[in-house]
Symmetry: C2
Subunit: 199 residues, 2 copies
């Protein structure tokens, strides 16, 4: 794509920094920006800057927010003594969208990953432990993802709060609703049996 | 994705305007922008604005350029009397990247598409005819894409310049290099036979 004028090449290289966006897609996006209205392009550029300027982490739960304390933590109707622990804000949003949780959250912003040099100190675990004591939390629900790092992180948290007289639960893994057992993988079926309950 | 703070939702909706980018991908890109450095985000926003501000169409060939006349038209070594006609700047870049053309270009910025209300007046055809006369052009190579609209556009241009004593050629269509005849579709093979030449 060396044939494009310099400002276009610059834009392509900036867009190609997005994860999962290669040079071809970046070129397509850059040409869209060239074709769209000035107003649209200005709004996009403004939004990018605004997000960086206004969004920071909630001082209680480390959710993304434009306020000092996020809407969930500030809501007097949410149970402050039940804390759901998630890896990233996108997990939090997914659980919120399900509409089935009325407690509060704690976002770790990562999972244990020794190979990438990410240990307990790189996550928001010290802040979690602090909060558990201060807010007299009764239950933590560990909702890290069902993979090696997520499980290791869940295990670490379980160990750290063992002495604290807090109920520690893990979200259930099993066959997804609307799914079919014959298409479920072995690990999922094993988990589905492990998480079975009396009906 | 209603759970995100307002500036994030705004950014997601701006990013989702890109062609081929749905809300899920837009969310992923927005979260990347949140995680990247302030400097990276600033550079991206700046690039978007710069492209809109600086890039316009070459007054001769309607290629994208930051100058009054694009580098190709301004190059004294390029043959001004051989003009390759393309639909969009991306076709021009593809031909330039092949390194096998030393003439100049004319970008139509579209193709005939009566169903979308795009007729000859919406393309840069009047400017093309003007240019053919003024620059004493000897040959035009029509390099619109090999589909219904591209062929219709090629036919129209052929008709319009019939009286002008200009050699009109069409780029060849056939089996791509490195391809295999057994995988080529019927239309491609038919074109490949039609475009055959004596060796």
């Amino acid at each position: 794509m060396t044939g494009y004028a310099q400002p276009i090449r610059q834009l392509i290289s900036e867009l190609a920094k997005f994860p999962g966006i290669g040079e071809k897609t970046a070129t397509r996006l850059a040409l869209y920006i060239l074709h769209t209205s000035d107003d649209n392009a200005r709004k996009l550029a403004h939004s990018i800057l605004e997000v960086k300027e206004k969004i920071h982490l909630c001082s209680v739960c480390f959710n993304l927010t434009e306020k000092e304390i996020c809407d969930i933590c500030a809501d007097p109707l949410r149970q402050k003594d039940v804390v759901c622990i998630v890896e990233e804000p996108d997990s939090l949003i997914a659980i919120e969208d399900s509409g089935s949780f009325r407690g509060t959250y704690h976002t770790l912003h990562g999972v244990l990953s020794p190979l990438d040099g990410i240990g307990p100190d790189h996550l928001r675990i010290p802040e979690l432990l602090d909060r558990l004591v201060k807010n007299n939390v009764k239950e933590i629900i560990i909702a890290t993802n069902p993979n090696v790092q997520g499980e290791a992180t869940a295990l670490l948290i379980t160990k750290l709060v063992r002495e604290m007289n807090i109920k520690v639960t893990r979200i259930a893994f099993g066959v997804p609703m609307g799914g079919d057992l014959k298409y479920a993988d072995r690990m999922t079926l094993a988990k589905s049996l492990e998480f079975r309950r009396i009906i």
